[in-house]
C-alpha cells in the first residue's frame, strides 16, 4: 500500500527532526520548516518513515494512504 508523508502545518514548530531522520524525503526551507515530498514514500523507506512520524515532538507528521489528499 502506497503511503504519503503529510505535515499539519499548524502543529509543526520546525524542530527539524524529520529532515535529519529522513533527508532522502524531507528537506527544510530557509526558516527550518519541513518540505514534504510530492511523491509517495518508497517501500524500502516506509519503516524509517514510520519511526520518523513517531519521533516528531509535536506529533505534526503523519503517514497517510496515498489516495486521500
Amino acid at each position: 500500500m502506497t503511503r504519503r508523508l503529510a505535515v499539519n502545518p499548524i502543529a509543526c514548530t520546525g524542530h527539524g527532526i524529520c529532515a535529519s531522520m529522513l533527508p532522502e524525503l524531507i528537506g527544510l526551507d530557509e526558516w527550518g520548516y519541513p518540505i514534504m515530498p510530492d511523491h509517495p514514500v518508497p517501500d524500502d523507506l516506509t519503516p524509517l518513515a514510520r519511526r520518523t512520524v513517531r519521533l516528531c515532538p509535536t506529533l505534526a507528521l503523519r503517514l497517510e494512504s496515498a489516495d486521500r489528499r
Partner: protein, 446 residues
C-alpha cells in the same frame, strides 16, 4: 412545487431580468428593505418541507457557484452536507475581509431578507434547524440592521429555523471558513488544519454548510424562480448574476450587479473606466494583476480566466490608477497580507514577511543580493504549505505582479524607478488597506 411557478412569480421573474436580480430596487437605497417591501419585490418565500431534496437539485441544475472567493459549486456543497450523518448547521459568512470588496456589505445593508431567505431555505434543504450569520465586529450599523431583520422574521413567525447573529473579529484570515467555524465553536477566529472540512465536522462537530451571504441570496432566487430562470443570465460557462466591486481608476466606483461571465472590460466600464488605466487586479488581494488589454475581453468566469491564472474570486475589479506604481502598490499589499497572518504555520509566518521585504526592496529600487533568485525561490517554497490558502493567495498576487508589471519590475531591479514611482502620487497610496489586524493588537482573535 417548483415546476409550477405561479403567475405572480413569473411576472416578478421577468421584471428581475438578467442583471437586476439581487440589486432589484435598491441600487440607490440607503436603508434595508423591511420584510413587507422585500416580499413585494420578490414575492413570498416558497414553503419548504425539511430535507427538501428538490432545492438541492435545483441549485445544482442552476449551476450556482460560491460567491465568496473559492467558487465551489453550491449544489455539490449542499449535497455533501445533507448526506453526512447528524443534523447539519448552516453558517452565512458575511465577514467580507477583502479590503477592496464592498459587495457583501452592500447586499446585507439593502436586501437583508433576501440573504436570510436563502439561509432559511438552504437550512431546510439540508435539514438544519439552526443557522448562524457571521458579521464583522465594529460594523455596528450593519449588525443592528441585520439583528432588526432577524427580529422582524421572528415576529412574523415565518421561519422554521432559528437565526443567530454573531460579531467576529475582522481579520483577513478570520473570514476563512475554518476560522469562522472555530470561532463559533468557542475558539479563536483562526483557520484550522483540514481535514476535517466543515461539511464533515464543523460547528458543534456537526456537518456544516458555510457559504458567502451573496450565495445564499442566489439560493433564495433559485427557490422562487427556478434553475431555468437563473441560467438565463450568464456567459463563459458561468450562470446567473454576480455582484462586483469596481474600484480604482473609474469615475463611479461601487458595487454593481452584472451577469456572471461578463467581459472584464465591460464590467469595468460599468464604473466608467479611466482611459489611461492599463492594469487591473482581478478577484481581490488574493487575486492577480493583469494588463487590461489582455483580459478585457475575457469573461469574468472561472473557466476562461484559468488560462491566464486568474479567478473571479470575490468579484473585485480594481483598475490601477495610471499615476500609481504597480510594484509599490503590490509591495504595500504584501506587507499588509504578511501582517494578517494568523502566525500559526511557519511558511506563512516567516515566508510572507520575507516575500514582502523582497518586494519592498524592489519597490524602492534598492534590491539587495540576488533578489530575483531569492524571491522566486521563496514564492515556490511557500505556496501550498499553510493550513489555509492565505500564503497561496499572497504568492499568486506577487507572481502576477512580476508578470503584469514586468517592465517596471526590471527597471526597479536595476535601480531605475518607473515613472509613477519616480514622480510619486499626490493622492498617496492607491489600494485601500485597513489598519493591520494581526500586528496592531487593536482586537483579539476571539
Amino acid at each position: 412545487m417548483t415546476s409550477t411557478i405561479s403567475s405572480d412569480w413569473q411576472d416578478i421573474a421577468e421584471r428581475l431580468g438578467s442583471a437586476n436580480r439581487l440589486t432589484a430596487g435598491w441600487r440607490d437605497a440607503d436603508r434595508p428593505a423591511i420584510l413587507r417591501v422585500h416580499a413585494g419585490r420578490y414575492g413570498p418565500m416558497p414553503a419548504l418541507p425539511r430535507r427538501a431534496d428538490w432545492l438541492i437539485g435545483a441549485v445544482t441544475e442552476a449551476g450556482l457557484t460560491g460567491r465568496g472567493g473559492a467558487g465551489f459549486p453550491t449544489g455539490r456543497k449542499l449535497r455533501a452536507v445533507a448526506e453526512q450523518r447528524g443534523e447539519p448547521v448552516v453558517v452565512a459568512n458575511g465577514m467580507e475581509s477583502e479590503p477592496a470588496s464592498g459587495k457583501d456589505k452592500a447586499l446585507l445593508a439593502r436586501a437583508p431578507h433576501l440573504v436570510l431567505d436563502g439561509v432559511v431555505l438552504a437550512a431546510a434543504a439540508v435539514g438544519a434547524s439552526t443557522a448562524h450569520l457571521c458579521l464583522p465586529r465594529g460594523r455596528n450599523r450593519l449588525i443592528a440592521d441585520l439583528r432588526h431583520a432577524v427580529g422582524e422574521r421572528a415576529h412574523a413567525g415565518i421561519d422554521p429555523v432559528a437565526i443567530e447573529v454573531h460579531e467576529l473579529p475582522h481579520g483577513y484570515v478570520a473570514s476563512s471558513e475554518t476560522a469562522v467555524v472555530n470561532w463559533l465553536n468557542g475558539g479563536d477566529a483562526k483557520p484550522t488544519a483540514t481535514p476535517p472540512r466543515p461539511y464533515q465536522k464543523g460547528v458543534g462537530k456537526r456537518p456544516t454548510l458555510i457559504s458567502n451571504v451573496e450565495t445564499f441570496a442566489h439560493v433564495a432566487l433559485i427557490a422562487r424562480f427556478g434553475p431555468g430562470w437563473f441560467r438565463r443570465a450568464g456567459a463563459g460557462g458561468a450562470t446567473g448574476s454576480m455582484l462586483v466591486t469596481i474600484a480604482g481608476a473609474v469615475r463611479a466606483p461601487g458595487v454593481y450587479e452584472v451577469e456572471a461571465g461578463t467581459q472584464i472590460g465591460l464590467a469595468l466600464d460599468r464604473g466608467g473606466l479611466h482611459g489611461q488605466a492599463r492594469s487591473v487586479l482581478v478577484g481581490g488581494y488574493f487575486g492577480s494583476w493583469h494588463e487590461i488589454g489582455q483580459v478585457g475581453t475575457l469573461p469574468l468566469a472561472s473557466g476562461p480566466l484559468k488560462s491566464v491564472g486568474a479567478a473571479p474570486g470575490a468579484g473585485v475589479l480594481y483598475a490601477l490608477p495610471p499615476d500609481a506604481c504597480g510594484v509599490a502598490e503590490t509591495a504595500r499589499v504584501l506587507g499588509w497580507l504578511a501582517g494578517e497572518s494568523a502566525n500559526q504555520c511557519g511558511p506563512c509566518m516567516f515566508g510572507l514577511p520575507a516575500i514582502a521585504d523582497d518586494f519592498a526592496q524592489l519597490a524602492s529600487g534598492r534590491p539587495r543580493g540576488n533578489l530575483y533568485d531569492r524571491l522566486h525561490r521563496r514564492l515556490d517554497v511557500v505556496s501550498g504549505r499553510g493550513a489555509c490558502a492565505h500564503p497561496d493567495g499572497a504568492v499568486r498576487l506577487a507572481r502576477s505582479a512580476l508578470s503584469a508589471f514586468a517592465a517596471d519590475v526590471r527597471a526597479h531591479a536595476s535601480g531605475r524607478l518607473c515613472g509613477p514611482a519616480r514622480r510619486g502620487r499626490g493622492d498617496g497610496p492607491a489600494l485601500p488597506l485597513p489598519p493591520s489586524f494581526g500586528g496592531s493588537g487593536r482586537d483579539s482573535w476571539r
